[in-house]
Symmetry: D3
Subunit: 157 residues, 6 copies
């Protein structure tokens, strides 16, 4: 087995890998996650496509703000100038689907930024609903698609 | 249905709820999550209980640091003086189990801090393994147990 | 004239004054400010008491989050454990009135936290409306009332 | 009326708009604000053009540091690499005029950064003078001039 | 040898140790450091006890602000409510002596906060003087004295 | 004497200097520092080139994360998009040698980022060892080498 983590050197020490040789190109990543909760909570969050109060807005804004701070949270991520962040929240019967789409024109991909937006939007939903549903669960936080850069398009199989 | 989110006022506006009437007592919360990845990645992370290089340490430290910043990330969380944070990572066949235990002596519970530690440790693992396994998924981020304060002990059913 | 700024020592050097001798008591502060803009902008923000979209929620949440970070922004402010933050936005004919109420149980007052919440909510409104009204102005950012602590109640004359 | 806020999508949801198609050009913005206080406070701040102690320096530095953190405070602002920030404080009879000039070579304008520098310099002055003048007021925080980018020069009418 | 680092558990994993059993008492720490530079630089910084411009104020304020953020920078430090921070800068022939005194009423000592204030004041002096003296060196960053808490007074031997 | 600090204007006021006219080129800086402690502490940190537990990893990661936040800590530093950060820790008899290498492709040098990485790695070692050696000292925090940009190569004489 010859594969290695690029974030570790040959002695296993963590490092922020050198991207100075990479090109500044437009890169996009889409990540998703699901907050599993109860039908009662979903009804409190909204109905008929209409949000009730600021609950969803709070999660959306928290996700956008967190995407910008990914490099402060994840130790080996590069600081990246994000060009756009969109966080979409869709209510299902007893769950909320979170989708984050992030774009940059920089030297490295933005899948971590999309995953961070999803996670923090999910944490904020957790916080919002916990007085009604302390047992909620955030699941399937993962990359769906990324494109741009040398490695090109990747889509979840 | 008379239940409401405590984070919204009667008009639906987001607010940071008043905890000044609550007592400063010792409160503990435990949260968990699972990074699903591949057996190959787990082997790169460690073997026989011995971590290889800084990979797990990086995630552990990221989780601890993020717990302290929960109130910066989750808009309606109160700033809390954390007394202790422990992040434990256990390697399974093709997954990593993340457990965070957080304690405070303050006016509000720390389940959001425990969930944030788990999420950011999970994001950091995502970042570490993504060059080998871009399809990894963070699942089951949820509270297992909380105790202390007026509401007392809660355990996941 | 014998008055002096408490934030400067006798040589004029900035310092964070010692509050260790003060008591931890409940303290409240209310601050206000006004964003002057156009009737067209106010109509885009909402009508008949109903906000249109996330515009007001974004400002409200930004104000709440900034209140918690006051001590990071204002160099000589003490870190304070805020018990509650409420940001209220009221639409008038061609302006938005911003009111922030902040409470703590700590060793120093929270008027700076209330002023910071108002200012950053105001900045966020500036940002929201600037594509339609680049000439908007944030005015009258000031303390209306503070109570608690040794100095007791102060109300704007 | 067809105007809309660019920060909201067609459903009213907040988003960080896509600037990846914009060019990286030099952009400058100037914002101002006025702290209205008392003649006594102004005398404590300085005389004959000479500042007394660190009071003005503290506000100047707070404004510069805040400009760099605008994107952390204002939810839908893009992270921008600032090329220069200058904060100027001019003492008048019973007020302090704050002027911030910010420059970048990036994909979006810097008027929010200039407004943030003015606001936080103003908050810091509020904090400095509050032991002598709790009734001070920060007024007229607004953009005076911006240039660069596709929309070119804008000056306050 | 039976001594161990309290920040590591029995398996060597980093953790934030539990201080919930400790008492909230007044604790003080003093740390110092020296920036070695040139006589030319010291002359530019000030003369006859009078600072020239904002150079020393910038370092003093940076040190105070950094002390409050110690727990964000040093991974295993607890968030602490600082009661006071004083940073003193004394010019010598070809060096600047930095002294930071920090006080809290909390569950753990503040020597890390004092060391952080010294280090960041020193970094800021490095930054200020580097255009004239790129060879400057920050030395002897260390604790001089700490008191309070169960371990009582410690003074550098 | 005609030299002046570039960070101060002709009146001595602090400012963030304008780098918009500079070119985006690859720039590298190397800084070092030494934590002087005891042989007993070094033995606890590792032996035979093998670290014991997370102690060194914690310092390494703290240094990397701090390098990215230099512009938040040092008031007049520009925000810079770092391309790589490596922090190396070498155990000697009774000391730890810290070396940080930072690279960017931006408009200004990264010696402050390298110095910040060294300082915060050093602070983290201070924190790790303080229960065993409260008298440890961080020394010789200085730039060893920088290259790139108009001023070209500089090496410590």
């Amino acid at each position: 087995m010859t594969k290695q983590f690029t974030h570790l050197d040959s002695h296993g020490a963590a490092r922020m890998v050198d991207v100075s040789g990479k090109e500044q190109t437009t890169r996009t990543a889409v990540a998703t996650g699901i907050l599993h909760t109860t039908a009662e909570v979903v009804e409190l969050l909204g109905a008929d496509g209409l949000p009730k109060g600021d609950a969803l807005a709070t999660a959306r804004i928290a996700g956008i703000m967190a995407a910008k701070r990914t490099w402060e949270l994840v130790p080996l991520c590069h600081p990246i100038a994000l060009s756009s962040v969109v966080v979409d929240l869709a209510l299902a019967e007893d769950s909320v689907l979170i989708t984050a789409t992030v774009r940059t024109t920089d030297r490295t991909g933005v899948e971590m930024e999309a995953l961070t937006a999803v996670s923090v939007a999910g944490l904020t939903l957790h916080d919002m609903v916990k007085s009604v549903d302390p047992a909620a669960s955030l699941d399937a936080v993962r990359v769906e698609r990324k494109e741009g850069g040398k490695s090109g398009l990747w889509e979840r199989p």
